[in-house]
Amino acid sequence: MNDALQDPEICPLGVDGILVRFARNLNDTANARALAFRDQVEAADIAGVTEVAPSLVSVRIGFDPSATDRNAVTTAILTLLAEPMSGDTPPRRLWRIPACFSPDHAAQLAEAAQLAGCTVDQAIAEITTQQVRVMAIGFAPGQPYLGLLPDHWNIPRQSALTDTLPQGALICAVRQLIIWAAEAPTGWRHIGQTAFRVYLPETKQPFALQPGDVVQFAAVSDTDFATIQRDGTTNGGARCEVLR
């Protein structure tokens, strides 16, 4: 099941929300449909709808139960789903973000590479040559889900949780990368380290990345990474190129 579902699933998500799910497994088509459907719902301005939140393959439509109800919102959603949808939209911005893959900064890289069926050097090459899309932001403020990596990176999460990881950690599972922003347990594996802050609550633009941006990681040495960490003038040495 690697494509978007012909008929998206409409599920309850809380007493004040509906989840429209475009696939059961992560794929680019479903992600693009979810992002496009978000735009469609926002443009439709449905009465009583309070929030339109896109995710990897789904969109949650939140509503005020004192102003509308599940049936009315569901009817409006079905009408929108019946409309023809626009296709893929090209990326708006390209971010180049330095990352260090030395063992001190990537405790589980060897384990992850083994699960992906490649050597550590091959793993680094695959992670840094590809541009990965910001498929969704979530789990923690500003934290991007980046993907998709090649199919052999479809490695499961660990069954046990890692208690904590440094901010900026590059972690992976199920063909995706995350630049870690939270102080929270995770089941994803720590395969690299950036000095990039995805969330800057003290600034006017607290969220660095937007869904639809693309990211390319650049491998740097321990020494270069230490320099980047000391340099307070950039956001982890990242450079952002506006594409359109």
Partner: protein, 339 residues
């Protein structure tokens, strides 16, 4: 501006209101009071609005003074409290004179106690809310010697009221509704889940609590490779080894572990207030049944206000009787005869 000073702060004190809805797409969960009903009860007792910011006290209280006398209320978890030695009732409008020391002890029942003030805590809002969101790095835990701005009490002569509150501090049956992944679990697993008695594990915080149980886990085939999807507070998440976690106010916004169902908002305070070891059972509602329980904070506050009853005090128990204005509203005596 009047201030509230913390002379001694327990380790889990934060400023809370009803949080920041509407930022899920940016990865910021709503946050706010772990037991929003307790915040609304405080607002009802004080005639305040749903935006009244309070001090949330997880497990431990503290010692407080105010620079200007104000009414206040203690709601949520039961925490023994006194003003300069005189016992303070729970769920009742109280008055704290300027300089008097309000001492709040640790919770004897429940987890989250709340100190609500008539004028509210008036720290600067961030993204339209004063709620501390620890995992999002918004605000910090309060510490000894902190001083917070508070709003003035606009009705110093108000008649005290009290609220009879149904017990929600002892666990029991929690109503849950199906969510997007409920159907991924087998009927057998769902049935076993609904007939198991769980205990709240000591591990837990404003993000969520872990549940213990006897017997085999509630895992599922392929549960570790599901696409991550949106989360709401109340969701019951199963980690790979089948251990359930109930997600609370400061939960993440997206997660990959499958969720067997979601605690309805009406019962989530019971979950938040379940101390370690408290027994919890789950009852599945249909979506229609669950939706019938949906309400808004504004409607809840109106209902709570209507349920407040006057406190009748025996004059013998009022130590500062002579401090009260016992005669007010004296009239010329001919009011009824005037046009």
């Amino acid at each position: 501006m009047p201030t509230l000073t913390l002379h001694k702060a327990g380790p889990g004190l934060t400023v809370q209101d009803l949080g920041r809805p509407g930022w899920k797409a940016q990865g910021l969960s709503t946050g706010g009071a772990a037991d929003p009903l307790a915040l609304l009860e405080g607002a009802a007792l004080l005639g305040a609005g749903t935006d009244n910011a309070v001090i949330e006290m997880m497990g431990f209280g503290g010692t407080f003074t105010v620079s200007e006398g104000t009414h206040f209320a203690l709601t949520g978890a039961v925490m023994q409290a006194n003003i300069d030695g005189a016992t303070v009732e729970h769920n009742t409008t109280q008055f704290l004179p300027a300089g008097a020391k309000l001492t709040i002890a640790g919770a004897t029942k429940g987890v989250y106690g709340y100190l609500a003030l008539a004028g509210g805590i008036t720290t600067a809002p961030i993204m339209d809310s004063r709620a501390t969101h620890l995992t999002a790095g918004i605000g910090t835990r309060l510490a000894t010697d902190d001083a917070l701005p508070i709003g003035a009490d606009m009705d110093r002569m108000r008649a005290p009221v009290k609220l009879h509150v149904d017990d929600r501090l002892s666990g029991g049956t929690i109503r849950i509704m199906p969510g997007p992944q409920t159907g991924f679990f087998s009927d057998q697993t769902l049935a076993a889940f609904a007939t198991t008695t769980f205990q709240r594990n000591p591990r837990g915080n404003r993000q969520g609590i872990r549940l213990d149980y006897e017997g085999k886990g509630f895992g599922m085939q392929g549960g570790l490779t599901f696409v991550s999807d949106l989360i709401v507070s109340g969701d019951i998440q199963m980690t790979g080894d089948g251990v359930p976690y109930i997600l609370l106010a400061e939960c993440q916004t997206i997660g990959g572990y499958p969720r067997i169902g979601s605690v309805i908002p009406a019962d989530l305070p019971k979950v938040a207030q379940a101390a370690p070891g408290t027994a919890l059972r789950f009852q599945f509602l249909s979506v229609v049944e669950a939706d019938a329980t949906a309400t808004t904070y504004a409607a809840q506050l109106r209902q709570l206000r209507a349920r407040c009853t006057p406190v009748l005090r025996d004059p013998h128990d009022i130590a500062d009787l002579l401090g009260y204005q016992l005669i007010s509203g004296a009239t010329p005596g001919d009011d009824l005869e005037r046009p």
